[in-house]
Amino acid sequence: MARLLKNNRKIKIEIRKKLFFTAVVLLLILAFCSGTMSFLSGPLQFVGRPIWKIKNYSVDFVSELGVFFKTKEKLREENKILKNKLGKANFQLFNRKALLEENIKLKEILGRKNEDFKFILANVIAKPNLSPYDSLILDRGSQDGVKKGNKVLADADIIIGEIAEIYSKTSKAKLYSFPRDTLNVALGFDKIFAQAVGKGGGNFELKLPQGTPIALGDLVTLPEMGLLVLGRVEEIDLRPEDPFQTVLFKSPVNIFELRWVQILQE
């Protein structure tokens, strides 16, 4: 009888422990979703900033060490390939600058005011591969004039996301390519409006009716920021049974290798 009572008491204690655990878990999830725990993000970012910087420095150091183990012949070959690529890139840049100047002059003729953009250069201290959130942590915060909603660019004319959260010395940028996030875009020279869906890692997908004039290599931009490129069409999937064509486009930069970005101050 005493043994039965003891067992009953043990079971009751077990049930209470499980209920308590469930209540705590639910409270934590609720607190997180409602944003009550957001006050902890600032101190965590403060702690994380030196750790991320040490990690990035170590990765750079180790990759530079690798140069010592490459043979002279390999280095010479790599140098030649890189010089060729640089030459082509310089030519394209020269061409692009000329086109940009012409674009600006034509807009002035039409009475469109050309806005001067101000940028803040920021170092990417935590890349998207550290979390499934497709976010970047940058080393510029409210002290540097960063504001929520500021656009984030790579290479000055490729838009990748916007600032979602700001702390005193760091900020969090959310990338537009997060899976299932939707975005209004303009496609190609004719600025065909469509809604793109993020696929993660700088990749997007959108659907257009079959027969819409698009081609591989067409640029995709945001409607309100015509000169900033979001991506380039990489693949067009056409099926006879489907009245729509699936267009896959991708950011021209590899977001997993980003080291520097520009924060556009509006």
């Binding site: 999830i29 965590l44 979390s131 959260e165």
Partner: protein, 89 residues
């Protein structure tokens, strides 16, 4: 005492991994620790820390903390496995 000190080292390593390792490697590492040190409550706290560090407001997954939920599933699965192992032993 020995197992306590290794547990503390494991917790510190897991916390550092949040800042250093890719997320999929972090989840694997955490799953191993959840199994070895079941019940590993510290892992749940570290999952929440990871979410606070990296999360941004999202429309999908009902804005749930992804790491915390994954680690919670690991925690519960490891607890069930341990219970089954104890019963079979």
């Amino acid at each position: 005492m020995g197992s306590n000190s290794t547990r503390i080292i494991a917790v510190v390593l897991l916390l550092l991994s949040v800042f250093v390792l890719p997320w999929w490697l972090l989840v694997i590492f955490a799953a191993v620790l959840f199994f070895y040190y079941a019940p590993f409550f510290e892992g749940l706290a570290i999952g929440l820390i990871a979410d606070l560090l990296y999360s941004v407001p999202r429309e999908i997954f009902w804005d749930l903390p992804i790491f915390f939920v994954c680690f919670l599933i690991c925690f519960l699965l490891c607890k069930i496995v341990h219970k089954q192992l104890r019963i079979s032993n």
